[in-house]
């Protein structure tokens, strides 16, 4: 049970692509709000889905620093390692 930034990032992209409105050519460097046109509520709701899949909670104050898919993946891996 050892997730890496790459594996978490891939999982996030896979989840995002399940939403037909998300552009097909996204990668880890995509900015979640700007490139995917998510508002703050959509980001929080999406993160909740990721939290459930990976059994981790991402505190909202941490979300403020997250811009890209890889940022989110790094944050989740940090949280998992800490726990």
């Amino acid at each position: 049970m050892s997730e890496t930034v790459e594996s978490v990032s891939a999982l996030i992209i896979q989840k995002l692509l399940a939403n037909p409105k998300v552009p097909r050519d996204i990668d880890g460097n995509c900015k979640i709000m700007e490139d995917l046109a998510f508002d703050s509520l959509a980001v929080m709701n999406f993160v909740m889905e990721v939290e459930d899949t990976l059994d981790v909670s991402v505190p909202l104050d941490k979300l403020a620093d997250i811009r890209t898919i890889n940022d989110l993946a790094t944050c989740i891996v940090d949280l998992k390692n800490k726990g």
Partner: protein, 403 residues
């Protein structure tokens, strides 16, 4: 050079489109004069008010009006000070004692608004290593309180006690206290919290529980104390936060608690300390409205009967209205193209409701948010249903075939 105001470009163009589509700015409706608690003059016309949160109609209470007039004569119009400096008069303490006594609690803190009550309590109670566990559909005042606090903030799925439990379990072994924050009735949708289930999770996990009864006080429970009274779990609620600006018809907020440390919260709570206290006439009117509410439990019976009446009527004419019956009844529409003409048409035809737009609504869908009053007559409710039917048909929100 970057304009300071370019960040508002999105809002400006969205507002422009709203006004163009419907002919009015839905956020600039002026109630020129209240005729009664249920009728006001808007655009020169008498309009039925179905969007004022004035659940018991007490904004027009004769007793409260008289009490305010007397207080102004006796005390003047303002306190010019904060609660911990020169802004506490005997009236403020009296109101705190009465609110606490009505809830059967040790003490109360009175804030200048309901928004500040949530902002103040939430930001003060939790510290750096603590956790705030919020319902995902929480009011802006709760989210803002969480941003003002140094705590870690975790959201759980709306009204989902199992999800709350799961997220608390994930925190097992982490240092720091956990504070769960839920609302009694959610202001946008009228959803009622499954408070007994939430209380059970609280007991099992050793967390604290704060319940915002802003929209349920005066509305639910035998004494009108809210959802915790109705469900019989008041003892599990550590902090009740509420407002005077809904069922009591004035303005101001409060927190009641049995924890003696509430006295220390007063001295650490910035939204309580660094703002002027409520003026005496508001305090006096609030105490009078509280007496009205206590002496007239039939107001709650009328309110719930009226809520059931409007709720059944909306479902009968084929609107997608809230599932639960509560004094907040939201009609969910599929798109702005339906919602904007319908809201405008309702106002043309003489019914005022709130137009609530994403992202302030769950699910990214627009809502026509209605609030019912104890003082609405059955004839006014029937008239509102008929106007909703007409506006719904014209805007395509109700399909002809559904009728």
């Amino acid at each position: 050079m970057t304009s300071l105001f370019s960040k508002f470009d999105g809002t400006a163009s969205a507002l422009g489109a709203l006004v163009q589509a419907g002919g009015r700015n839905p956020f600039a409706v002026v109630i020129e004069k209240p005729i009664s608690s249920t009728v006001g003059v808007i655009e020169g016309r008498e309009t039925l008010l179905f969007g004022t949160n004035n659940y018991l109609g007490l904004s027009q209470s004769e007793r409260a009006i008289k009490a305010a007039q007397d207080a102004v004569g006796k005390y003047g119009v303002g306190t010019t000070g904060s609660r911990i400096a020169n802004g506490t008069q005997s009236l403020h303490r009296q109101l705190e004692q009465r609110i606490a006594a009505y809830f059967g609690r040790r003490d109360a803190m009175v804030f200048s608004t309901g928004y500040q009550a949530n902002l103040g309590m939430i930001s003060t109670l939790v510290g750096k290593d603590d956790y705030l566990i919020l319902d995902a559909d929480s009011h802006a005042s709760i989210y803002d309180g969480s941003r003002l606090s140094p705590a870690q903030v975790i959201r759980f799925r709306h009204n989902d006690a199992e999800d709350l439990h799961k997220r608390l379990k994930r925190l097992d072994g982490t240092p720091g206290a956990k504070l769960i924050v839920v609302e009694g009735i959610y202001s946008m949708t009228g959803n009622v919290a499954p408070i007994a289930e939430m209380a059970a999770v609280k007991r099992e996990t050793g967390a604290y529980l704060l319940v915002d009864e802003a929209h349920s006080f005066g509305v639910m429970g035998e004494k009108g104390l809210g959802v915790a009274e109705e469900a019989g779990v008041e003892a599990d609620v550590d902090f009740v936060v509420g407002t005077f600006s809904k069922s009591l018809g004035t303005v101001g907020g409060y927190c009641v608690s049995d924890h003696p440390e509430l006295e220390m919260v007063r001295l650490n709570c910035r939204p309580y300390m660094f703002t002027a206290s409520l003026p005496p006439e508001v305090i006096a009117a609030t105490m009078a409205a509280l007496e009205d509410m206590q002496e007239h439990p039939e107001l709650r019976t009328h309110l719930m009967a009226n809520a059931a009446h409007l709720h059944a009527g909306f479902h009968r004419i084929g609107l997608n209205a809230s599932r639960q019956v509560s004094p907040v009844i939201a009609v969910t529409l599929e798109s702005l193209e339906q919602a904007i003409p319908m809201w405008n048409r309702l106002l043309d035809l003489g019914v005022y409701v709130n137009l609530s737009l994403p992202p302030a609504t769950p699910d990214h869908r627009p809502l026509l948010r209605c609030s019912v009053m104890a003082t609405h007559t059955p004839a006014q409710i029937d008239q509102a249903i008929e106007i909703f039917r007409q506006a719904g048909l014209e805007s395509g929100a109700i399909a002809e075939s559904a009728l």
